[in-house]
Structures are given as structure tokens and as C-alpha cells.
Amino acid sequence: MGNPSKPRKIRLSTTPTREALAELRLGDIVYLDGLIYTAREGVYKRALEDNANIPMELPSESAANFHCSPAATIAEDGSFRLGAVTATASFRFTKWIGDWMARSGAKLIIGKGGMSAKDYQEHFVPNGAIYLTTVGYGTGALLGRGVKRVKAVHWNKELGLAQAMWVLEAENMGPFIVESDLAGNSLFERENAKISANLAKVYEGTVPAVLKRFGETDDRSDEMIG
């Protein structure tokens, strides 16, 4: 039976000050208050490649970009029904994230799995942004509870429900975990380094496959993203 220690819990605005962000340490648990918007490949492409006007005042309304599509529907009367809310994996959005930060002034990128150290150094650190990861990648019901209401859905017609820009009013919405800090350090990388140290022992006695594959690595400390 383990006796794990409890991480620190912190409430944070979705338009955070630099001081508030500087307070955060890797592994802190964060709950958010304020407006959050979802933006992933659909929104990025439309805003950055097709140069569409972003239908919100960013970052004054919100500096929190959630890599997410909620389980939700829009009723015929235009009202929204939102169920669970869970992030999608962020590493696929590297090609847009720098330009998006420049355009949106986002300070909080929220998603699944974090982004690469290179992304943190090149885009997050210069823009004073940090990355928050959702928890377990399945706490969709808890996060759904933290959404007080859906304020708007932009670009639904153009992008479909899953890629639309959902604007959510968050109240004590969480839990999220601080994955990167203002210096660009990554919690996932720290954990991966610790785990890698043990892997040779776990693999002991196993044999590499007789038929190789192109592009294969046996360096198990490698990051799989970026």
C-alpha cells in the first residue's frame, strides 16, 4: 500500500497575470475561472491559413486555449447542451502554435500530453505562456461540471461541432496539472527521464524482432512527440 503525498491545489484566472503564472510549479493542480475557448486544427487553419477574423477579443476576453472538442449538441432553438469535456493530444498542433500565440496572446494552452521541449522554448517561453494538462484524460464529467454555461459557438457551420470554437464560462473548472512553467521546463519530460532509468531492467531477457522496421529506435529514452 502506497502513501503518496497530495499535490498543491491553486485557482487561476483564464486571463492570468505574469506573477500568477510565475507562482506555479510543475505538478501543481489548477482550477480555472473565466472564459475558455476551444481551438484545434480547424480553428487554427481558418484563422491562420485562411486569415478569417477571430470572432472574439483575444486575449482580453480569454487567454486560455483548450485543445478540445466537447461532447455537445446545438438544439434547433440555438441553445447548447454540453456533456463531458476532454482534451485532445496537443503535439499535433506544433505547426500552428507559434503563430496562434502571436495572434491570440494565449497564456494558457490546455490539452492532452503536453508539447515538445522545443515548442516550449521557441513559443511558450517568449510569449510568457504555460501548458496545463487535463488529468487522466478521462475526467470529462468533472470538467463538464466546471462549465457554468456555453457562452457561444463560433464557426460551427464552417467547421462542424467537433472543430468549432466553443466559448465556455469556467467556474472552478478542473483539475488540470501544470505541465510546463515559464522557464519551459516539462513535467512529462522530468517523469520520462526518471522512468527511462529503469527500462533496461524491465526489458532484460527480451529480444529484438528478427525482422526490422524502417525508422525503428531502441533508445527508449526518446520522446515520441515533436
Binding site: 505538478g27 484524460y137 467537433a162 515520441m224
Partner: protein
């Protein structure tokens, strides 16, 4: 004759149950993992997940915002007839999938691979998948819906007899470590392993091993059952837990299913059925009676038969 309106109504209820209610066997498995987890962050994650399952049931909202890619496994007794035939059955399952996507609501995940067209209802070309199985006796239909996540945790490799058990362990670890980093596989998961068959059937076997067997079930071949326990233990000794944090909970259970393969090969697939192991089952009888359960009970002796002919055991109950 099974009434078609009962099939559609039952299918809609199953879509709802799968998305919202974590199956008891998985929940028990996760609680057992949480009780021994000593990594600070891994432990926090597991506690949050347990809280999340409760919130989902209380609010009747999906437990995860990514509600996966809904599919159907349909099994029938040999005497089963469906009102309207198989075409009506498939229409009913497609309607139930679309209705539930708007009703629960689920995320409309299914899009065209190239044009990204989204019908906002999880129905499209080949979606939802509908797969069939049959049993020797009885007049009943089992409707099984599984909403497995669709992006990470699954891989295939052509191994050969000379790779042996140690080669199987190697590929198994490769999959767990690679997809476990940063928690992309949403572990701890039920890991399904397909061995043999052809490439496509190997993938099917592994997926079914992950999605259609409950935690704690063992393969009927005692030596395979032993390997399952060994792989479970091996996965939990990696030193990695939930979200790829330091910990010891990667595998809630390891299930292996096999199929006869080419004499020169030993195909292998690995599938991870995530923290939101969405599956729900109901049996519909000809008189319209419906029995709900969470155990698909897919891998019967008949499904794993090795012989040309199949003799129905003397004590085989017609409705079993």
C-alpha cells in the same frame, strides 16, 4: 422473431450506458490499482478518475469528452430471426448511434478521412462498424456496443516463430512504453493482445480481447492464461503509471486471443482499452424481453473452436 423496435430502443439505451457508466469489472480493477499506487501524481490521477466516474453517473453525462468511435458487435443464436431481416437490423443500429450522439450527447467524432466531412452523428461510410458472431443454440440477439478511443495505444507487428515468447514480451513492452509516455494510451488500460490469424484478423482478435472480455477473465487455454498473468505483471513493473507519471499502474488486465496463422509467422497486435472502458451489452429475446449486462461473453468455446465439426455439448442450454 425479434421485434425491430425493441432492438432500436435497446440499442439507444446501450449507447447511453456505455458512454456514462463505467463497467463494474473495470472499476474494481482500477480501485485495486489505486490502492497500491504510490506515485504522487499517478495516485492523484487515479483518485480523480474514480471521482469522475461518480460525477458521470450522478449527472448522467459522458465520463469522457472523447466518446470514442462507437461500434457494434452483434451475436445471435442459431434460431434467431429479426423482424425486417439483417438490413432492418443495420438500419436500427445506425439510427440508434445517430440518435444517441445527439441525445447523450456524444462527441461527433466520425469524419471522412480525406474531406473531414462530419455528419455530427457518428454515422458515415463504414461507421459505426457492425460485426457479427453466432452461437449454436437459441433465439436471441446480443447487442454489444463498444466506444473505444481511436487514436493511441494500438500497434501491429509481424513476428516469426523464432521471435518466441521473449519477442512477444519485447513488442508488448514497446507498445506500452511508447504509447504510455505522456499517457497517450490513457492508461491504466485493459490490454488486448492478438496472436496469429492473418494481419487483419490479428488486429480484430487483439481488439476483441481488449473490448469483449472483462477484467479477471482468463483464456480457456491454461498456458495462455498463465502468459496473460505474466504480461499483466510485466506491464505493471515498468515503473510508469497513469499519464506516464512515475508509478506502477499501467495494466488493469492483459487478455490474449489467438487464431491459427501461417506456418512461418506469429502475427501480434496490442490494443489498449482506456480509462473510460466504454462497453454495454443487452440480450433481446423473441418475446421482447431485454436483459442488460456488462460482460459481452463473446469468447465462448464455440468462438474458440479448433475442429471441423462442432458437437453441441449434451448439457448445452438452448438459451445460453
Amino acid at each position: 422473431m425479434i421485434p425491430i423496435d425493441v432492438i432500436q430502443k435497446t440499442a439507444e439505451i446501450l449507447m447511453d450506458k456505455a458512454a456514462i457508466e463505467i463497467p463494474q469489472d473495470y472499476l474494481d480493477g482500477l480501485k485495486a490499482a489505486a490502492s497500491v499506487e504510490d506515485g504522487d501524481l499517478s495516485s492523484f490521477v487515479l483518485e480523480a478518475m474514480l471521482e469522475n466516474y461518480e460525477a458521470a453517473k450522478e449527472d448522467r453525462r459522458a465520463m469522457c469528452g472523447d466518446t470514442g468511435t462507437p461500434r457494434w458487435y452483434v451475436k445471435m443464436g442459431n434460431e434467431t430471426q429479426i423482424e425486417g431481416g439483417p438490413i432492418a437490423l443495420e438500419a436500427a443500429l445506425r439510427r440508434a448511434t445517430a440518435n444517441a450522439t445527439n441525445g447523450v450527447p456524444l462527441r461527433p467524432n466520425r469524419v471522412h478521412p480525406l474531406w473531414r466531412t462530419d455528419h455530427d452523428n457518428n454515422v458515415g461510410i463504414g461507421a459505426p462498424e457492425i460485426e457479427y458472431g453466432y452461437e449454436p443454440g437459441g433465439e436471441w440477439i446480443d447487442l454489444i456496443t463498444v466506444h473505444k478511443g481511436g487514436l493511441f495505444g494500438t500497434d501491429y507487428r509481424m513476428l516469426f516463430p523464432s521471435d518466441g515468447i521473449e519477442g512477444i514480451k519485447r513488442f508488448y513492452l514497446d507498445c506500452l512504453v511508447a504509447f504510455g509516455k505522456r499517457g497517450l494510451a490513457c492508461q491504466p488500460a485493459i490490454i488486448g493482445i492478438g496472436l496469429g490469424g492473418c494481419k487483419d484478423t490479428c488486429m480484430v482478435l487483439g481488439k476483441r480481447a481488449a473490448c469483449l472480455r472483462v477484467v479477471g477473465s482468463r483464456n480457456s487455454d491454461p498456458r495462455i492464461a498463465e502468459l496473460e498473468l505474466e504480461l499483466k505483471e510485466l506491464g505493471n513493473s515498468i515503473g510508469m503509471g497513469a499519464m506516464g507519471f512515475v508509478g506502477k499502474s499501467m495494466v488493469i488486465d492483459a487478455n490474449i486471443e489467438v487464431g491459427y496463422c501461417h506456418t512461418g509467422g506469429m502475427q501480434m497486435s496490442v490494443h489498449a482499452f482506456c480509462l473510460s472502458s466504454r462497453r454495454a451489452v443487452a440480450r433481446v429475446f423473441a418475446d421482447g424481453r431485454v436483459e442488460y449486462r456488462t460482460d459481452p461473453d463473446w469468447f465462448t468455446d464455440y468462438q474458440r473452436r479448433e475442429t471441423v465439426e462442432w458437437e453441441i455439448p449434451q448439457n448445452h442450454e438452448k438459451s445460453a
